[in-house]
């Protein structure tokens, strides 16, 4: 069991990160903290997918005279670049919503907001 965990340490780490993020999203009262939790979850998934493409001793997959196999798999990295763009847009939208909520209500604590409704 421990040995299996050790081999897959990268996956285990992303699972732990994911859970930390989810915990923040669910339990934190401050909207910004909630959102930081979401960013931690995003990072966990990104790290998981990038780790998929790693090849031990692999080289950057760039063709040329001095290119020598094995190469790392570039596809997960390309996917995650797209994923990061999505995450940045989500963050931008969420932060601007939080700013507007603060301007309107003077607070970003979820429980105080709930009382105002």
């Amino acid at each position: 069991m421990i040995a299996l965990l050790w081999i897959n340490l990268d996956y285990a780490a992303s699972v732990v990160l994911f859970c930390i993020g989810l915990y923040c999203v669910v339990t934190k009262n401050n909207l910004i903290k909630k959102f930081i939790g979401l960013n931690i979850m995003e990072t966990a998934v990104f790290a998981f997918i990038v780790a998929l493409g790693v090849v031990e001793g692999g080289d950057a997959p760039i063709m040329g005279a001095d290119a020598n196999a094995p190469f790392t798999n570039p596809i997960p990295q390309a996917l995650i670049l797209t994923g990061i763009v999505v995450a940045v847009s989500t963050t931008a939208l969420a932060l601007s919503l939080i700013i507007r909520i603060y301007q309107h209500c003077g607070t970003i604590e979820a429980d105080e907001l709930r009382e105002m409704e």
Binding site: F18, L22, V25, L31, K34, F35, L38, M41, E42, V45, F48, I49, L52, I75, P76, L79, T82, G83, V86, S89, T90, L93, A94, L97, I98, R100, I101, H104, C105, L113, E117
Partner: protein, 494 residues
């Protein structure tokens, strides 16, 4: 033009149109509406050609950049992709409806961005239903989700922003679930093309494949607002501007369901897991959703809140049909995706027209509105009859098929749950119709209100007419999805 070029065009045209909208709309935003309408009309024409093509020759593909799968991105148009027709129809009508609505309800400097977001949202949905690549599916899902969150907040009111934030948090977590599942499938198969994954998954390890489908299901369940994960929906759908509610309720929640159909296509084809346990869970959650959605709707005073809860019930019907995994059940579910979009758009746009004219949204305040806005209320009543599922309307057919599916799958008890749910739904819609027509108005000025303007009335009446026509001509969509469902369920060894 070859079909593959059209297939690319159906995504590119609204996307480019959306990007150009703020420029064309100018500072006043006056030209943005007509421009968006023109873009959607062109897109609808292309979608129509694609559907005729798929009816004649069956599913076909386009390869982006000429790279063939599994290396390139494949766009694939099959019978389930024909839901582009309803996306285009509702998109066009909602934009037409928005002309007057946006002028009154939105700050003028936001109008052009409102249409931009609307077009982006529609692009995302069209892309979502036609893509054959699983990562591409995620990208389109994010386009439609992000524009959806922003559309909820577009009016700039305090409650709207809070509803949008709630929607955003739940939506973003569910998107991450889906991305995680995509990563798992890629790790298992080394491919991102759906058809290719389906072939390669056959020999894969069981445990990660199971984890992947679980993550997919949870992710899409949040998007589809199935019962325990529905809490974001009522606020977001009720507070958004009415044309947006029509699109969110009619179409955006359906993308979660279509996503599930896509994943089922992969897993049924691969035969790697026995999905009957998952299907049992889905049928139960569907049944609970039907009853709980209807139960909450009964106690709502706000007309749009009531409609939002009724969406939860109807998603329950569709999930139940899918989970039954019998021929009739899945056909009924697939057609209900289409029909419920029509019905719910009729109701939300009708409610929007009433709110636009009167400024009231509570049922008590709206007593007697049937006398001053006869056409709009008639359309809403047709929608109400339709959603309850009375013959000969569009809603009857799908619910009948799903009930037949329950019997076919040997679980007639769920057909009982379905009828029970329909009774609940009947109760609150009859209450609504009763308020409109037969109760004395609380506010006398209600009787003075004019009928809705033509640009609002036209979409509502067209949709109401379609609710009736789709009931009478119901065989057409049913026979259309039948080959696709037969193909989907064939690996189950029917």
């Amino acid at each position: 033009m070859p079909a593959s070029a059209l297939l690319v065009g159906v995504i590119i045209i609204p996307l480019v149109g959306a990007v150009l909208t703020p420029v064309v709309g100018g500072r006043s935003g006056r030209a943005a509406g007509p421009w968006a309408l023109a873009v959607m009309l062109v897109t609808s024409a292309i979608a129509l050609m694609l559907i005729v093509h798929v009816a004649n020759v069956g599913p076909f593909s386009a390869y982006l950049g000429g790279w063939e799968p599994p290396y390139g991105i494949e766009l694939r148009f099959d019978e389930f992709s024909a839901s582009t027709s309803v996306i285009c129809l509702l998109g066009t009508l909602s934009i037409l409806f928005s002309f007057k609505y946006a002028e009154k309800e939105l700050p003028p400097e936001r109008i052009r961005y409102y249409y931009t977001l609307l077009l982006l949202n529609l692009t995302g949905m069209i892309g979502f239903v036609v893509t054959g690549d699983i990562f591409n599916l995620f990208v389109f899902m994010e386009i439609l989700s992000l524009s959806g969150y922003a559309l909820v907040a577009v009016s700039g009111e305090r409650t709207a922003e809070m509803a949008a934030f709630k929607y955003l948090i739940m939506g973003a977590v569910s998107s991450l679930m889906v991305l995680f599942a995509i990563g798992l499938l890629y790790a298992l198969t080394g491919s991102l093309n759906m058809a290719d994954i389906s072939v390669r998954l056959a020999g894969a390890e069981k445990a990660p494949a199971m984890l992947a489908i679980a993550a997919f299901t949870v992710g899409f369940m949040v998007k589809a607002a199935l019962f325990p994960l529905h809490i974001w929906l009522p606020d977001a759908h009720a507070i958004a501007p009415s044309p947006v509610s029509a699109i969110l309720s009619g179409l955006v929640v359906k993308t979660g369901l279509l996503g599930m159909i896509r994943i089922y296509q992969i897993y049924y084809g691969a035969k790697v897991l026995d999905l009957s346990a998952l299907n049992t869970v889905l049928v139960w959650l569907g049944a609970i959703s039907i009853v709980m959605g209807a139960f909450f709707a009964i106690f709502q005073e706000d007309i749009k809140m009531m409609l939002a809860y009724s969406t939860i019930s109807n998603v329950g019907y569709i999930i139940m049909g899918l989970g039954l995994a019998s021929q009739y059940g899945v056909i009924g579910a697939a057609v209900h995706i289409f029909n419920h979009a029509l019905i719910k758009a009729t109701l939300f746009l009708g409610a929007g027209a009433i709110i636009y004219r009167t400024g009231y949204r509570n049922l008590t305040d709206l007593r007697g509105i049937g006398r001053s806005m006869p056409l709009t209320t008639a359309a809403i009543s047709i929608g109400a009859i339709s959603i309850v599922g009375m013959p000969p309307t569009a809603g009857f057919l799908c619910k009948w098929y799903i009930a037949l599916g329950a019997v076919e799958a040997g679980q007639p008890l769920f057909a009982v749950a379905l009828v029970f749910g329909a009774l609940f739904i009947f109760v609150y819609y009859i209450r609504m119709v009763n308020t409109f027509y037969f109760q004395e108005p609380v506010h006398p000025e209600i009787l003075e209100v004019e009928e809705a303007p033509l640009s609002m009335l036209f979409p509502v009446l067209i949709l109401a007419a379609l609710c009736l026509i789709m009931g009478i001509l119901g065989r057409i969509p049913l026979s259309f999805v039948e080959p696709a469902v037969t193909r989907l369920l064939a690996p189950l060894g029917g």
